[in-house]
């Protein structure tokens, strides 16, 4: 175009920083993933298909996806609530609670898994009460959900918190002066404002849960067809030196995760685009 003028930026170095970005992403993400695809392609398509559609594998997809979804959904609700409390109220020990939220990030997941299993086992502190009303927590999908909820919590809280912090209370006050009750204010004013952030947190927590291994294997019981998650099956294949089979399952999960994250991001982009500053 004739009038395409060079844009001047305050900070120079787009070429350099973009170059670093690409190299960095390649080394850390793209190349490992490419190797994964390569490994998976060492078996024939029929073999690949058989591996990834085996009843046990399919059962583990279902289990992994639905426990991850529920865990992420629970986090979306309660994580948002925690973010709300941390942003809107001042109370004694607030900083400690704020720091606690990050603990699932810092703790080795195996430690979390063992601790959760100890508590939720049929003879554990909490598990015994569930046991007495006939609910098994550890060694069931419910236990898996608890472990996945644990590891996913920080994602939602840390996504929603800054957005809530920036949310001017004037909007709530404006709604109140217009006659809205607290429920309406939340549903029509606050929720639409924080929804994209909650969605981001949900997507991150969900993606994290899909790949979680360390904390789940202790609490799940690992029963084939019942409580066997996809990452465990991948490890199983590796233990049998079946690298291609492990890669095949990994590829399926990878593609699924990517499509899902992409869709969520796209949805989020669509919902926010129209009323962001244009």
């Amino acid at each position: 175009m004739a009038d395409k003028r060079k844009r001047h930026r305050v900070l120079p170095g787009f070429g350099l920083s973009m170059g670093y970005t690409l190299i960095y992403l390649s080394l850390i993400i793209l190349i490992p993933i490419a190797v994964l695809f390569l490994k998976a392609s060492t078996i024939s398509l029929a073999e690949f298909w058989d591996t990834v559609t085996e009843a046990r594998v399919v059962a583990s997809y279902k289990l992994t996806i639905y426990t991850s979804f529920i865990a992420a959904f629970v986090n979306a609700i309660f994580g948002t609530l925690i973010a709300w409390v941390l942003v809107r109220y001042d109370f004694y020990g607030k900083r400690i609670i704020d720091a606690l939220v990050d603990l699932p990030f810092a703790l080795p997941t195996a430690v979390a898994g063992i601790a959760l299993t100890t508590i939720y086992a049929p003879n554990g502190w909490i598990g015994q009460y569930f046991e007495s009303i006939g609910i098994k927590v550890a060694y069931t999908p419910l236990g898996i959900m608890i472990a996945l909820t644990f590891i996913g919590l920080p994602f939602v809280v840390r996504s929603v918190q800054p957005v809530l912090q920036d949310l001017d209370q004037q909007y709530e006050e404006a709604a109140a002066t217009l006659g809205a009750n607290p429920l309406q204010i939340f549903a029509k004013i606050i929720f639409p404002a924080i929804f994209p952030a909650t969605l981001t947190g949900f997507a991150l927590a969900f993606a994290r849960a899909l790949g979680e291994y360390g904390s789940v294997v202790f609490i799940s019981g690992n029963m084939p067809m019942k409580t066997e998650i996809v990452p465990l099956l991948i490890i199983t294949k590796l233990e049998q030196f079946n690298y291609a089979g492990a890669a095949a399952i990994a590829v399926v999960m990878l593609v699924f995760s990517f499509v899902l994250l992409f869709l969520i991001n796209f949805w989020q982009w669509k919902t926010t685009k129209k009323y962001q500053v244009s």
Binding site: T118, N123, Q240, N242
Partner: protein, 195 residues
């Protein structure tokens, strides 16, 4: 095999110890049924149907059984069972010894190539030799491993109950075949969990 007795053993797919457990059970059933493979499979299938938690490793299973109180029976290596008993007191659990089981031998060897590369051949060989000295055998026995040297075996005979032992080579024609028949994808173990 009673159906209301729940058994704890790790997953043979991910745990080496669990494979020994599995093979021991298989061998036991073969012995009981005069070498009938179908009966043995039936037995092992029944056994694993009574497993409520398949941990990924042997220690995990011990924890599940001992700490969480899950299951009625834990299948474990002899030394593991003794250790658990030592840790928790003799009145907590009872060790049941089968009439026949597999001889699980933790392999030990010098990997020539690696040792050469690291220039540690001498030390490695010395260590290997030490394991089979009287002193080494005694340490093993103290840790509830059955010693190979006759002298140590005699000394600690009281500690280990009489048991008939078969080896993996005798019954399964070596590890390679056992792994292929039983534990590889589509093997016997997978069939147990076929829906």
């Amino acid at each position: 095999m009673k159906s209301d007795v729940s058994v704890i053993t790790p997953n043979p797919k991910t745990s080496g110890g669990a494979r020994w457990n599995y093979l021991a059970a298989w061998g036991y059933a073969l012995e009981q049924n005069n070498g009938d493979e179908a009966k043995a499979k039936e037995f092992v299938t029944k056994l694993f149907k009574n497993v409520p938690v398949l941990d990924s490793g042997a220690r995990g299973s011990t924890t599940t059984f001992v700490e969480r109180g899950i299951g009625d029976v834990l299948i474990a290596w002899e030394n593991e069972a003794f250790l658990a008993l030592n840790e928790l007191g003799k009145d907590e659990f009872e060790i049941v010894v089968p009439s026949i089981s597999i001889l699980a031998e933790p392999p030990v060897t010098v990997v020539d190539e690696n040792a050469k590369k690291h220039e540690t051949e001498e030390v490695a060989k010395a260590y290997l030799d030490y394991l089979y000295t009287d002193e080494g055998q005694e340490i093993a026995a103290k840790n509830y491993y059955r010693p190979r040297s006759e002298e140590a075996a005699k000394k600690y005979a009281k500690q280990f109950p009489e048991i008939r032992l078969f080896t993996i080579d005798e019954v399964f024609d070596g590890w390679k075949n056992a792994q292929k028949t039983h534990f590889d994808d589509g093997g016997v173990f997978d069939e147990i969990y076929k829906p």
